[in-house]
């Protein structure tokens, strides 16, 4: 197991280096001069040149990449052209919001998708199964930006039940920063009112973000559960006279979880990508919103910083999923091949 984790961590380094190289090349292949844009409409040539020198944009490309990688090793992600702050500071500010939103969506996906999938499998071919199918196919098909705006119109404008966007109300005061996630920080500070407020502001964006993945996980759980329900050991269990709930919990769910876990791990990537649109629609100040700004101004360091961070999160989550297999299924062991 330890050897496996070490191997995977080594692979993580390769993935991150590869990502930086690809992102670096892609952002520099796109035509555009960020110095010209950011120096401003009336900036003189001298000012543009000074800006370029300040951010090292006058150096040859391979050199710029080496400088960047050298900094990365020291934990320096460079300076953002748009915010004029170290990218690390920007990420420290924006990443917690994204993690909070993604985690909330993930919780909805897991707590919603798995029970719905099992339910659909048990009621296979019945009305409930069809209803769940229609809803989940809808969930997969609706683009995030459309669903988000539709929910805003219904739940904010018509009904007035939920706020339209942002992390907290206009008059709410941010909780003292510990993790940067408002719900967690509010709990740490023991401030229930802010916690509730932060939770309310999470509902719409998290639901919107979760919709697509929830549908995928539901479908996957249903398929996996049906396969297990037809297995011989389930028939044996039934023959033994076990309660249906026990069969479902102990035999069906546990065995169906392996493919479902894989899908959930992959869905984390989808959620992270979906964050960009969700954050724009709900004015959620996370790295998705930050990335949109960075891309429109060709803010190289910021784009790289976001890419590296998202790759790290994604690879780490999938490593955790692989480890979870062992817990779920004792037959799987990574140690054997070491």
């Amino acid at each position: 197991m330890a050897g496996f984790i070490v191997r995977r961590l080594a692979l993580l380094v390769v993935v991150v280096v590869g990502m930086t190289l690809i992102t670096f090349i892609l952002t520099h292949v796109v035509p555009g001069d960020p110095a010209r844009m950011l120096a401003g409409q009336h900036a003189t040539l001298d000012q543009v040149e000074a800006f370029r020198r300040l951010y090292g944009l006058d150096r040859p490309l391979p050199e710029q990449y080496l400088i960047y990688m050298n900094g990365l090793l020291k934990g320096d992600l460079g300076q953002s052209l748009t915010t004029r702050r170290p990218v690390l500071d920007d990420l420290r500010q924006f990443l917690p919001a994204t993690l909070e939103l993604t985690s909330a969506a993930l919780v909805l996906v897991i707590l919603g998708g798995i029970p719905l999938g099992v339910l659909a499998a048990v009621r296979r071919g019945k009305a409930l199964d069809h209803v769940i199918r229609v809803v989940t196919v809808g969930g997969v098909s609706l683009p995030v930006f459309w669903l988000g705006i539709a929910l805003q119109i219904v739940l904010y404008r018509w009904l007035g039940w939920l706020p339209i966007g942002g992390r907290l109300g206009i008059v709410d005061i941010e909780p003292a920063r510990v993790t940067g996630m408002y719900t967690v920080d509010a709990l740490i500070a023991g401030d229930t009112a802010t916690f509730v407020s932060a939770l309310v502001y999470l509902i719409l964006p998290a639901s919107t973000l979760a919709a697509g993945s929830l549908a995928v996980v539901t479908r996957m759980t249903r398929a996996a559960s049906i396969e297990v329900l037809d297995a011989n050991y389930v028939r044996t269990a039934r023959a033994k006279g076990l309660f249906e709930t026990v069969i479902l919990r102990r035999h069906v769910l546990r065995n169906a979880m392996i493919p479902t876990m894989t899908v959930i791990g992959l869905q984390v990537g989808t959620l992270l990508a979906g964050n960009v649109l969700t954050e724009v629609v709900f004015n959620w100040p996370g790295i998705g919103l930050y990335a949109v700004n960075a891309i429109s101004y060709l803010d190289y360091a910021a784009i790289m910083g976001v890419t590296v961070t998202i790759s790290l999160v994604y690879v780490t989550v999938n490593l955790l999923v692989d480890i979870a297999y062992v817990v779920l299924d004792p037959r799987i062991s990574y140690g054997a091949r070491d």
Binding site: V30, P31, G32, D33, R36, M37, L38, A39, G40, Q41, H42, A43, T44, L45, D46, Q47, V48, T82, T83, R84, R85, Q93, F94, I149, Q152, I153, Y156, R157, G160, W161, L162, P163, I164, G165, G166, R167, G169, I170, V171, E174, A189, G190, D191, T192, A193, F195, V196, S197, L199, V200, I203, V280, V281, F282, N283, P285, L289, Y290, N293, S296
Partner: protein
């Protein structure tokens, strides 16, 4: 809202029901989450901005979105009077420019203090001006002729110039200006000779009506009253100012409709027009100095011939654009200077829509049936550039000229056009003034020195006579003579037609109808005079 420990205790004791309780409370809270009325109150102004501020430092940036914050805390020596372009005293109670244009004297208003208690005196003003020159960013370029800043007494500041400079006086009243920053803050926060740039990026200490309470980049800035503000707090003023950054236009629209925000800046045109007529919302409709052009490639292709450019200028249906596309909230422009701006010459001729005349000019130039292709390029994010390009395309087709339209990202667009090797395109451009001088409009877009990356002359027009006139005008201290020189320059540009002067647009700012005291000034675009605002 105070913490009630009993809630948490109960929550931990019966965990599952507690969790449900919290969720239930969330939904219940959501059922009547605080709408605007109960949320911010009438003593608070909530402004939304579609673009984030780059920096809080008022001297180091030329971007369009940061001045919205600067104006709350920082002030300028002079200002423009109301909606006019008349320069009047502000922090300086009097000012004088010597007849030779080489000496500027400012008398500082006595009794003004920065929000940290430091006095605004001649030394403080000198320090701010010298820092502006030192940082070499922002408006520093306009101060390049300043050779010394002297302080003959505690409330007098004298600038000596190496040459007269048209527009310099307005630099002390502009959106981008040597704003007055507390000398104490500058001294205490300097690090490695950075003139306190690091510190001032996130902190503000000025003489203005409000002080920065909190700032979270990309989220919001909150300002509260500066209790010692020198103008005093009699009358209708806001207690607090909140600037919220909201990227999505639909969200902004909904919030403004519901009254959760009071003024919405940096909204796309279509969102603004959609708000017009919404109950409780008004949209301003006043002339601005925003001049919209289609610049033609003067150095490449058939458009190197002046007659072809004139023909194209006669070929655009200005009336249709102004009436149908802009809904009458604009007017056809005449020349390179807006008709309401200083130095506009009303005698410059205006191109009318006259296809017959256009065809005759084309024939004269050797293109009787057109028969050539013109590329038109625009960058994503400008609502007006595509429809204007399509009207241009359709009108040019009548003259036998094929127009190819290409959309690019803003950076790719700038890259393509600022490179003389790749630029061969007509393009839409909007210009508004930084300094109160016609030079501002003419130099950056048409002077030879502004070609490529040093300006916005991306049509690569070049005319030594015109350049000489601009050079002469910028150093001419005599106002009448200067006007004469700039008038000649305007006549040259209109005759040579390096661009189509399409329209001057009215300023359209959506706000709640109970916001009072808003006065639009075309130089102070997309910023607010918070002190003047109040709520009915």
């Amino acid at each position: 809202m105070k913490f009630d420990p009993s809630i948490l205790r109960e929550g931990t004791r019966i965990s599952r029901r507690g969790a449900l309780g919290v969720l239930g409370a969330g939904v219940a809270f959501g059922a009547n989450f605080p709408r605007r009325a109960g949320a911010a109150g009438s003593d608070t102004l909530v402004v939304s901005s579609g673009g984030e501020a780059v920096t809080l430092d008022p001297q180091v940036s030329f971007d369009g979105t940061s001045p919205l914050l600067w104006r709350a805390c920082y002030e300028t020596l002079l200002k423009l009077d109301g909606s006019s372009i008349d320069i009047v005293p502000n922090l300086a109670e009097a000012f004088e420019v010597a007849p030779d244009g080489l000496t500027y004297t400012f008398k500082i208003r006595p009794g003004i203090a920065f929000s940290d208690g430091e006095a605004l005196n001649a030394a403080a003003v000198k320090r701010s001006i010298e820092r502006q020159i030192g940082v070499q960013q922002g408006i520093a370029y306009a101060l390049s002729t300043v050779t010394s800043v002297e302080t003959p007494d505690d409330l007098t500041v004298v600038l000596k110039l190496s040459a007269p400079s048209d527009g310099l006086l307005s630099a002390f009243a502009s959106t981008y200006s040597p704003y007055m920053i507390s000398p104490k803050a500058l001294a205490e926060n300097e690090a490695d000779g950075d003139l306190a740039q690091g510190w001032l990026r996130g902190n503000m200490v000025g003489t203005g009506p409000y002080v920065l309470e909190s700032y979270t980049q990309a989220q919001q800035a909150v300002f509260s009253r500066n209790p010692d503000y020198w103008k005093g707090w009699d009358g209708n003023h806001f207690e607090r100012i909140i600037v919220k950054y909201i990227q999505e236009a639909t969200t902004t629209r909904l919030l403004l409709e519901q009254g959760e925000i009071d003024i919405a800046l940096f909204l796309p045109d279509d969102a603004v027009e959609a708000l017009d007529g919404t109950p409780g919302v008004t949209v301003t409709n006043v002339p601005s100095f925003n001049l919209y052009m289609i610049v033609l490639p003067s150095a490449k292709g058939p458009t190197t011939d002046k007659r072809v450019r004139q023909a194209i200028s006669h070929g655009l249906d200005y009336g249709t654009w102004v009436t149908d596309y802009m809904g009458g909230k604009a007017q056809q422009a005449r020349g390179p200077v807006p008709s309401t701006f200083v130095g506009f010459d009303p005698t410059v001729p205006q191109y009318d829509y006259d296809p017959a005349k256009a065809k005759a000019l084309l024939a004269e130039a050797g293109y009787p049936d057109g028969g050539f292709t013109l590329k038109y390029t625009y960058e994503t994010g400008y609502w007006w550039k595509r429809p204007l390009g399509e009207l241009f395309q359709s009108n040019m087709k009548d003259l036998g000229i094929t127009v190819e339209i290409q959309e690019l990202s803003p950076s790719a667009w700038g890259d393509l056009l600022s490179n003389p090797d790749t630029a061969e395109h007509a393009f839409g451009l909007v210009w508004w003034p930084t300094l109160v001088t016609p030079l501002d409009f003419m130099w950056s877009v048409f002077a030879t020195g502004a070609q490529g990356t040093s300006g916005f002359n991306w049509g690569y027009y070049s005319n030594p006579d015109f350049d000489a006139l601009l050079d002469a005008g910028s150093v001419e201290p005599d106002a009448a003579k200067r006007t004469d020189i700039y008038n000649k320059a305007q006549h040259i540009i209109v005759d040579e037609a390096p661009a189509l002067f399409v329209y001057e647009k009215n300023y359209r700012l959506p706000m709640r109808d109970n916001v009072q005291g808003f006065v639009f000034n075309g130089v102070y675009i997309e910023m607010l005079d918070y002190f003047a605002l109040g709520k009915a």
